[in-house]
Structure formats: structure tokens, C-alpha cells
Symmetry: C2
């Protein structure tokens, strides 16, 4: 149920005929009494039209509904695309009885084509009629493109519930900036204020999602939204209130869980790579080192081949733009050294066996400071090439 | 004959048993009366031992010989690796009768293992005995790893000859800094001084090679060397002398020719991508935009699938870190518009046919200024994955 696990939300997903596959492609997530809202968006210089619109609608810190279509990204569509996104918000407001400015819009799919507004307009009343407190999974299904299955997660913290869902399998390298075709929706029934949500987005959600890389290509459409209905009751939680840390931790856990799952189920992926970086100058520097390793096509193809090619890890870290002392540089796979004091060691049988596991965990010690980060990635195999050579034609 | 086309050079290539394939793996390039020399090296934070040594030997601006081994990169080898590179210089000096500091050392191959000094030492006298003014191709063959064939080029400018050879098929994204496992050797018999060569390296060679991307992974070993014997005679050419421009242009042409060939024959490549960027703020910014397009796995897989997916070009440019006005952004394939004023157009049959050619030329107009650059890349297909998943195991 994911996004509808917290109280105060209803959701639905329907098929409007936007995707050639005939799979569900139009989702609605509604907070009947409204929700405090915060978000983070792609920093691509060509943001999609719905990104531009939703960023502006989020300025109020409140929202009534989120509408999502899959099939067309509504990016690279010029001023007409922005008009289309506004029309999607207006049609959604009409179907739900709220103002267009209370609607957040997300799109994902092929860049270039315009969204078929006629199909969306005729199917929105159906979706509104199907809205249900158990509709989270239907919503999570309707937002998928090349994903294998819906990605959902939930958590509890004291009296509050947290839920989330995400889509994304390719064009994944979010570099979100707080207020990315990664879409993630995280909900809670905690009575958190918009400023509290903004803090949680900046401190927990952005680092979790920006520590994810599939192919190094940041989408024009990446969007992460955090909505809080307050339906669990209790006094309001502001950004400096004592309850904010526990809530932030639960929301962070849901984000990390969804990000890890996104890596595991990325386009063509068969192995998940977890890079734990420690000893960097800062957490950002640590994340940069982790992304350099997890994003390297040579590391990714070695992972596909189950080849413990530590030289490629050395190359990738050396290319991360971080100052390094080779003599203080160590890499371990599980707890077996791969690189010690900057020397690439000859791999042994333990290492070769560990490379064949479905999840490979590297620990990279930079030796510069106390900054740390965890980054999720995946292998690069024939299937990624097949999917992306055949995606559109 | 490439590097031995200019007068004053002799070269040889032999098999020392450094590579499992049994192919030639030890090369010598010698300037009997010495040569003015300049170079550019990887900016990877883990430079290979021979990079560290050659950078220091280049400080004199003169060299007598270059020794190259393929099979082991002598990177990630710690202080022992630097000792090994020094020993290679000393053994070469002994075989040729010159000082170790007059020898430049290059290595390419697997990162981690140490170079087998015993085999190199026992084979160097043989190589010295085979040195010949027609030995350029044997030298060019001895430096290859996953390359398909030697890459050679020559040019003439007035009374002077220019020759060059290169190796490199994967781990290619040079970001050379003037003084990569891209190795390139460019020779001339012009009487150019070391400062003139340094200027030509900075202005012609570095931009040519840094406009090349195969997999986005900058090697620990990238090295480009420019050697001038002056054997053609004539008065010395200093960095501000009138003759320097013509010589620079010929050397630039040889560099671009070798870089284009490196892209065309990269690991698994079947299509060459040429990205001509115009209207950027600066030439560096233009090169950044071109590298973002040519380096994108999504553009590369679309190229492999002959799919004119212009949305992926838009995404890649938007992610290049350059300020852009979407309304002024245009992309053409040959002369057919793919993106016009930031709008991704529906591809037509002309475009689909052009995508099937062995070389695809994109023109990207940023609309910001007058900076331009040409970048070379290639497609990403099953063969790149196969080569890199099986390279070592």
C-alpha cells in the first residue's frame, strides 16, 4: 500500500492509453484534507515542464493532490509543454474539486512527444472515482516505465506512519536540489509542517537519492515529493521540534530502502553494488568517490563478469576529483582487502566468490578525514544495452 | 612507418612475453642525436609509476629514447612500481648507451601487477639491435592492448615531416594536463625547441585528445609525447617564431586523425560519433557539451540501435553543467534538425537512414557565444560489455 499506508491519503492508478504496452499509465495521489509538502527536483538545465510547474506550486508548502503520467516525459516540448502541464493540473483540479495550484504534476517516459491531454482528460474522472485508502500499489504501478515492478516501502515511528514508492530504472543519476526520470513519493501522517518537511528533504531524502547511480544520466524529470497529512493527530512538528529527528530517520530509512531497490532493479541489472566510503574530507566528497566507483562502466562491466578487477576501482577513485594520498588508500570487499596502501592486491578465491553474490559491498577508505557516505549502483551487462538500443524504435 | 617517418628516429617492437596473447609487447623509439621533447599526462589522482617518472624526466626538455611495455600498466603498484619504472629507464639506457634520465617510460595494460623486469631486461638488447628507420609500425604494434590494429598518421608541412601513432580502446576519457591508457607518440624532424613543443602540446595536442571519450574512464597511464629531432635542418623554431603555426597545424592534424581513429576502433565500437559544438561560451565549454553527448551511455546505446533518440541528446546537454537558454538550443544530424528552439522533433526517414552510417555527425548549437569544439566518441553495444566483462578473468 506504500504511499497510502499513512492515514489521510487515497490513491488510484488507471490505463489511459499513454503507453504502447497498454499497462497502467495515469496515477492520482490525494490528501483529502490537504497535506504539507516539500520536494526536490532535477538540476538538469532542461527541466521537464511538470518540474517547472510543480516547483512553482510547491512554493505554498501545501498540496491537495499529485497527478502522474507515464509514457511521455513532457520534456523538450517547449512552451506548449508547459501549457500541457498546466492543463493536466487544471483537469485534475476539476475532477477532484480543488484548485489547479493545489495539484503537483509529474511525467515520465519518452522525451519529446507531447502528453495526450484528451486521453488524460477523459480518464481522470475514472481515476478520481477509484481513489481508495488501499490504492497505493495501483498508484505505484501506474508510474512505471522500464521498471520491473513497483518499488514500495513503509516505516513506523512512534504514532506516525511513513510510506513511499518510486519508479526509475534508467537515466538515473539524480543530483537533486532541494526546493529528478526518478520519481519518488514519500508520505506520512505525522503533523509535520512544511518547513520541517523541507529540512527532512534536504538532510535525508536528497543525500539518499543522490547516492544512487545507474547510468550517470540525470533525467530532465527527476522529482521527489514528501507529503504529510497530520492525520495521525498530535501537535505540529516544526523543523526544530524534538520529534523531527525520529520522523526524519524513518523517512530516511524509507528513502534508502527505495534507492537500494532502484539500483537492484535498474535496467538490465543483475547485481547490486553498495559502495561504503569512509575517511573522506566531507560527506559530499565521500558521495562523489562512491558515485565515481559505482558509475564507472569498467567497474560495472567487471561486476557483470564477476571479475574482482580492483585496478578499475583505483582508476575510478583517482578520477573522482578528490585529493588523495595513495599511501593511505584502502579498499575492501566484505572484509577482504582488494587495495592496501594504494597497492592493488592479487585477488583470492574468497574475493572471486563474493563477486558472484547478488549484492557486492565495497568499503573504500580515503584516509582524508571523517566524511562518509553509502552509494548504490549496479552492473552493466548485455541487457542494459538491449533495453536502451531498442527502447524507442 | 608513422613515428619514424620524420628523419632522425629509429624504432623497434619485440615480444618479451609480457602479454598472455604472445603478441609484441615491448617497444623502443630512439632519437640517435636526441630530440626536443614535451608531453601531457593523465590528471588521474593515481598516476601510474611511469607517468610520475616520465613527467620528471621531461623537465629537461630533451630525450634520447622512449621505452614502452604493454601487458602491465605499472599503476597501483606502490613505491615498488616507481622503482620498477626507474629500472626500466636504467636498463634501456644501458642497452642504448645513454643516461637513464634521457629515457621516457610508458606502460599500458592491467592495473596492479608489477612489470616483469627480468623479461624486459633480457629482451631490451634484442630490441636495440632491431632499431630501424622503418621500425615505426613495429613500435606501434608493440604498444597495443585491446586495440584492433596500430593507429598511425603522418603529415608534411614545408620541409618538415610529422608522424604519430597511438594506442587506446577502453578506459578512454583523457583529461590531459600539459607538462593518459591512452598512449600517443608524435614525432617531427622540424628543429622545434622544447618551449615551441610545449606550446603545441597545450594548444593543439591536449584539445585534440581531450575531445575524445570512449567510456568516460580516465586512465592512470595516459601519456602523449611530442618529440622533435631537427634532422630536417634549418634554423630553430621557437614558440613565437613564424614557422610555429604551420608546424602546429600539421601536428594538430595528426592528433585529430589519431583521436578520430581511436574512437572509430574503440572497444566494441561499430559507429563513430562526431559532435560539432558551436555557439558555446568558450571552447572548453563547447568541449564539455560535446563530451557530455558523446559520453552518455543512453546516446551511445541509441547510436548502437541506430535510434535517432534526440531526447537523450537534450538530457545529456542539460546535464553538462553549462548555462543554457532552451529557446536558443538546436541540434542537427547532418543538416536535418533533431531539436529546434529546445523542442525535440519527430525523426524522419532521412534521420533514420543517417543513423545507420558508420559515422554520425551531430551539430549542437548552444546559442551562448562563439566557442566551438569537435568531440569524437562511439556507440556502446554488446561487444563493449563482452570485452570488459571478460578482459581479465
Amino acid at each position: 500500500v506504500s504511499v497510502t499506508y499513512p492515514r489521510g491519503f487515497r490513491a488510484a492508478g488507471v490505463t489511459a492509453g499513454l503507453k504502447a504496452s497498454g499497462r497502467p499509465d495515469l496515477g492520482l495521489l490525494v490528501a483529502d484534507d490537504g497535506a504539507a509538502a516539500a520536494g526536490a527536483f532535477t538540476t538538469n538545465a532542461f527541466p521537464a515542464a511538470p518540474v517547472i510547474l510543480s516547483r512553482s506550486h510547491l512554493a505554498s508548502g501545501r498540496t491537495a493532490a499529485v497527478v502522474v503520467n507515464s509514457g511521455q516525459a513532457n520534456a523538450g516540448t517547449g512552451p506548449e509543454g508547459l501549457d500541457d502541464a498546466k492543463t493536466m493540473a487544471r483537469l485534475t483540479g476539476s475532477a477532484l474539486g480543488c484548485d489547479a495550484t493545489e495539484v503537483l504534476v509529474c511525467s515520465t517516459g519518452v522525451i519529446g512527444p507531447r502528453v495526450p491531454l484528451d486521453r488524460i482528460g477523459s480518464e481522470l474522472p475514472t481515476a478520481a472515482g477509484l481513489l481508495d485508502p488501499t490504492g497505493g500499489t495501483a498508484f505505484a504501478e501506474s508510474i512505471l516505465t522500464t521498471d520491473r515492478a513497483p518499488k514500495e516501502a513503509t516505516a513506523d515511528t512512534g504514532p506516525y506512519r511513513v510510506g513511499g514508492c518510486a519508479k526509475g530504472a534508467g537515466m538515473i543519476a539524480p543530483r537533486l536540489a532541494p526546493l529528478g526520470t526518478l520519481l519518488a513519493f514519500i508520505t506520512t501522517d505525522a503533523p509535520a509542517t512544511a518547513p520541517a518537511l523541507q529540512r527532512i528533504v534536504a538532510e535525508r531524502i536528497v543525500p539518499a537519492w543522490n547516492g544512487l547511480v545507474v547510468d550517470g544520466c540525470q533525467s530532465t524529470n527527476d522529482t521527489v515529493l514528501l507529503l504529510a497529512t497530520g492525520a495521525a493527530g498530535g501537535t505540529a512538528i516544526g523543523p526544530e521540534d524534538p520529534g523531527v529527528e525520529d520522523l526524519a530517520e524513518a523517512i530516511g530509512d524509507v528513502s534508502v530502502s527505495l534507492a537500494r531497490r532502484t539500483a537492484a532493479e535498474a535496467e538490465g541489472a543483475s547485481t547490486t553494488l553498495v559502495v561504503q566510503v569512509e575517511g573522506a574530507g566531507t560527506a559530499d566528497e565521500a558521495r562523489g568517490v562512491g558515485l565515481a566507483v559505482a558509475g564507472s562502466p569498467l567497474v560495472k562491466t567487471a561486476l557483470f563478469g564477476a571479475d574482482p578487477n580492483a585496478g578499475r576501482i583505483l582508476q575510478a577513485v583517482g578520477d573522482a576529483g578528490v585529493e588523495l594520498d595513495p599511501a593511505a588508500f584502502d579498499v575492501r570487499l566484505d572484509n577482504v582487502p582488494l587495495i592496501s596502501s594504494g597497492r592493488v592486491l592479487e585477488p583470492n578465491d574468497t574475493v572471486a566468490a563474493a563477486m558472484k553474490e547478488p549484492e557486492v559491498v565495497l568499503t573504500v577508505s580515503v584516509g582524508n578525514g571523517s566524511g562518509s557516505a553509502t552509494v548504490f549502483g549496479c552492473d552493466l551487462g548485455y541487457e542494459y544495452v538491449r533495453i536502451n538500443a531498442e527502447y524507442r524504435t
